[in-house]
């Protein structure tokens, strides 16, 4: 990896300048894809779920898919030319841009770019200084799930999760991620302690950061588990070992499919969330096939399949008409800007505050990781 040689101001440097692709040329015959599980299914998980094979048949680009387990491993893998495209989440995309691992994109070459609602374009996690670095893929919020049989009345606030006197002590769950965990607390503090002056949950100065961590530490004894895999979260909700906490829509859907009394809500304070972006490696050896892939996977037909398989809002709202479950886009609020605006999408915290403050230094990502460990260890 590259390093600018110091802890100070690492985030303030500008990304290296690079040229985006002009035109999609002849396919190179191959494309290496680094993706989240479920984003590039080739039928090996379920023979019925396959949109890679048709891509290969159509474009002649042979797709080699590798599944990444964490954002950090994506960050590690990119920038070497081993991969052409990656489905980066907000907590690693910015780091990739600044580290020069991914190249700017020419949005004119994306056939479906126009079909993506504007509120997803040129955001903090997929652009820097007005330069686009990727094509939105899909998004989702960290909702609050609750057992409707236990948690009554239906909650509308994160109070039941963060409140010191929550009646659900011991059965609360948090998503096990430093970025999301601390940001979620900060979102709650934005509403409950406005005097902290938090403007953006990913731009926390030391005081704000400490307050968020303190909140999490006081919450820790009441937490039943920190969930990392969404099937664990689903099981926990179904068997009642957790009754309320951070969740994804897909989890709730799955639990409801099992007839479990589980509901989700976007609390009044707002929530964190993720928005994934297809990005092209700075040293991509197969850029044409890479663009072909992005165009394929963001086309309405494929978007419909991916969104349903994975359980998220598709970036391309044209897909909404094509889902087998007609209400899919409604369930996931794919078209709902108001809903979208209530969500604080993951991004990488840096010492240069993302909210534009220049008088203070914000706590950078490396500290977030350690603090999260500290929280979990009580």
């Amino acid at each position: 990896g590259t390093s600018d040689g110091g802890g100070e101001g690492g985030g303030s440097a500008a990304p290296p300048t690079m040229q985006a692709l002009d035109t999609i040329g002849e396919g190179e015959g191959e494309v290496n894809i680094l993706a989240w599980a479920g984003y590039a299914e080739d039928g090996s998980t379920d023979p019925a779920v396959d949109w890679v094979t048709p891509f290969e048949q159509k474009t002649g680009c042979q797709a080699n898919v590798q599944v990444a387990d964490t954002s950090d491993s994506m960050f590690e893998k990119m920038g070497t030319g081993d991969f052409d495209v990656v489905s980066a989440s907000g907590d690693s995309s910015l780091r990739m841009i600044y580290a020069g691992k991914v190249a700017p994109v020419n949005t004119d070459l994306f056939t479906s770019y126009a079909d993506v609602p504007d509120f997803q374009k040129m955001q903090a996690w997929n652009s820097v200084d007005g330069v686009a670095y990727g094509m939105p893929h899909g998004w989702g919020a960290q909702l609050m799930a609750y057992r409707s049989d236990v948690v009554t009345p239906a909650p509308t606030s994160w109070d039941v999760v963060f409140g010191a006197d929550s009646p659900y002590s011991g059965k609360i769950t948090d998503y096990d991620s430093p970025t999301d965990g601390i940001a979620a607390a900060a979102v709650y503090l934005m509403a409950t302690q406005p005097d902290l002056g938090i403007e953006n949950p990913y731009a926390l100065d030391q005081d704000q950061f400490d307050a968020a961590v303190e909140l999490l530490k006081s919450q820790q004894p009441h937490v039943g588990s920190y969930w990392a895999s969404y099937t664990d979260a689903q099981k926990a909700l179904e068997n009642g070992s957790t009754v309320v906490g951070s969740t994804w829509q897909i989890i709730v859907n799955l639990a409801q499919a099992d007839a479990a009394p589980v509901e989700s809500v976007l609390p009044d304070e707002g929530a964190t969330g993720w928005a994934d972006t297809w990005m092209v490696d700075a040293k991509s050896p197969h850029p044409s096939c890479a663009y072909e892939w992005i165009n394929w996977v963001t086309s309405p037909e494929v978007q419909a399949q991916v969104a349903e398989w994975f359980g998220e809002a598709p970036a391309n709202t044209q897909a909404c008409a094509l889902t087998t479950e007609p209400t899919h886009c409604d369930t996931f609020h794919a078209d709902d800007q108001a809903y979208f605006d209530k969500i604080w999408f993951w991004t990488t915290p840096q010492s240069a505050c993302l909210d534009g403050r220049t008088d203070v230094k914000c706590v950078p990502y490396a500290e977030w990781g350690k603090a999260w460990s500290e929280v979990k260890n009580g």
Binding site: A37, S44, T45, Q66, A68, T231, D258
Partner: protein, 268 residues
């Protein structure tokens, strides 16, 4: 005390208890593979063979098994060579550094898995400058499998002693012939037992694999790990697990056969 009935009964009861402790979860796995619901709840409401049928047609399991086999074969082969050489050196010679060497060989397995795993990851990356691949997985596995082969071989070497080899040379066979006709045939059983155990250890290894495998190299444990984190895949995993338990009879039978009187049924 073997004459005391009470003591015999007490130990018998403890054995039964222990076996129950060992087997109840395995039974749960097997039952679960027939559980109609995708989410476990006891007692299961409905039973089905659907998952078995689905798993049988799943190519990714087969691919993962193949990958695991590839890694385990390479790791076992390397461990066999290194472990046997080391066993001869440590069992037959006295030299400076012998103590350190015998400690070093157990270290990869005695240190916590996550430390070994992280050491390999950083070592491969920053020290050796290797890109992670199937080979790095095999190299890492081989390193902690060495001790398994080594222990089995050393035990056998200690038990047989030098006498057969001396007898062979005494009868006119040179060192190479002696190895071919006497040393190796006598050691073969222990090496095979060690190889089986090493294979099993590598086949089931998850932590070191997670840290040394590049994304995309999916061994069976990784496949299981990933599938347990996907919705609706748990039953398939249970089928695979049940099959693993059933198939494990083969290596156990083999290792019992080849290990003969030795107790090396385990991996230790």
């Amino acid at each position: 005390m073997r004459g005391s009935r009470r003591a015999r009964w007490t130990f018998g009861a403890m054995m039964a208890l222990g076996l129950a402790f060992v087997y109840v979860p395995l039974v749960v796995i097997v039952i679960n593979s027939f559980n109609a619901s995708t989410v476990f709840a006891w007692p299961p409401k409905d039973l089905t063979t659907k998952w078995w049928v689905e798993t049988a047609g799943n190519p990714s399991v087969r691919h993962a098994v193949l990958t695991s086999v590839e890694v385990a074969v390479v790791a076992t082969a390397v461990a066999l060579v290194l472990g046997t050489l080391l066993a001869f050196a440590l069992a037959r010679y006295r030299f400076f550094g012998l103590q350190a060497m015998s400690l070093l060989v157990v270290l990869p397995i005695a240190l916590p898995g996550i430390v070994t795993a992280l050491a390999f990851r950083t070592g491969f990356r920053t020290f050796l400058g290797l890109e992670l691949s199937l080979w790095t997985v095999a190299i890492a596995h081989a390193t902690f499998c060495v001790v398994i082969v080594h222990n089995n071989a050393v035990a056998r070497l200690r038990r047989t002693g030098l006498a057969p080899e001396e007898a062979s040379m005494d009868l006119g066979a040179d060192g190479f012939t002696t190895f071919r006709l006497v040393t190796f045939p006598l050691l073969r059983g222990a090496m095979l037992a060690g190889a089986l155990l090493a294979f099993g250890l590598s086949f089931d290894e998850i932590v070191v694999t997670l840290f040394t495998a590049p994304p995309g190299v999916t061994t069976l444990p990784i496949w299981i790990f990933q599938n347990l984190q996907r919705p609706n895949q748990a039953p398939t995993v249970n089928v695979v697990a049940a099959v693993l338990v059933l198939i494990s009879v083969v290596p156990i039978y083999l290792s019992q056969r080849v290990a003969g009187e030795s107790t090396a049924g385990g991996r230790i």
